[in-house]
Amino acid sequence: MAEERRFRSACGAPITLRRRQHSASCRELAVRGPRLQLRSLSAATSAVWLAAYGLFALSENSMVLSAAIFITLIGLIIYLHFVKIDQESLLVIGSLGIQVTSSYASGKESTIFIEMGQVKDVVINEAIHMQKVIYYLCILLQDPEDPQGISEVVPLFQSSKPRLDCLIEVYKSCQEILEQRKTAPQSN
């Protein structure tokens, strides 16, 4: 069963959270950010082309115009392939692990899989980030030597920073599955 709700990101952009329950111990949560807007794309393109035209008027060198066109095209491709993240999803499988995927606007997907033995907890942490204090969800990885210690922190949903209401939903879903591994311990 799938469920979709609208929220806002930390900057105010509208994002949607989609929740799917595949089975009793497997859930998928996907946060989708806004698509590339036509108006911001045309604003950036016009700014670059106007600057190039101004340079051309000053220097009478027609290479400036063709260079501007190349820069715009290559810049757009680099932005779509490396920078613009469309959707970030979290797949929690109770006995197996947690998989985090980010899909970019050009179709590229990058995944990270964390085995359940390494996961200590999924928590909402708050930290200072660029003159703001933001809430963010993160996975705490266990230290092999010290059972109470934390070896690493993996922050989630980095590019579409959801606000606290969305994070609480994701947190509750994750905790429901993580609690199951305490009540039904299996030998790994």
Binding site: K120, V123, I124, N125, L140, G149, V153
Partner: protein, 101 residues
């Protein structure tokens, strides 16, 4: 005081007194300007150093630190205020976000 005397008395008078090897008068104005510019840049530099030494989002310093790891748990006593300690983040989260409203 020596600085003021040196800055204000014209060069010819100083030469007539026999003091010839003093720095050029240009520096009487240049040094204060240098100092003020350094103070101004110091503001911006301090701001930048602050931002750079903030722990990044993926470091364990945002969750715990050396003192909290090594803390000892005191035994729970009836009818006494519990001892002060650093509560682990999992417990805090559960208390804040899990109870059904």
């Amino acid at each position: 005081v020596l600085y003021l005397i040196w800055a204000y008395i014209p060069e010819t008078w100083l030469f007539s007194l026999g003091l010839t090897y003093w720095p050029q008068k240009y520096w009487a104005v240049a040094l204060p300007v240098y100092l003020l510019v350094t103070v101004g840049i110091g503001y911006i530099l301090l701001f930048g150093i602050n931002m750079m030494s903030t722990a990044p989002l993926n470091s364990t310093d945002t969750i715990t630190d050396n003192f909290a790891r090594k803390q000892q748990q005191k035994k729970f006593q009836e009818e006494a205020i519990p001892a002060l300690r650093d509560i682990p983040i999992s417990e805090v989260n559960r208390m804040f976000f899990l109870p059904e409203k």
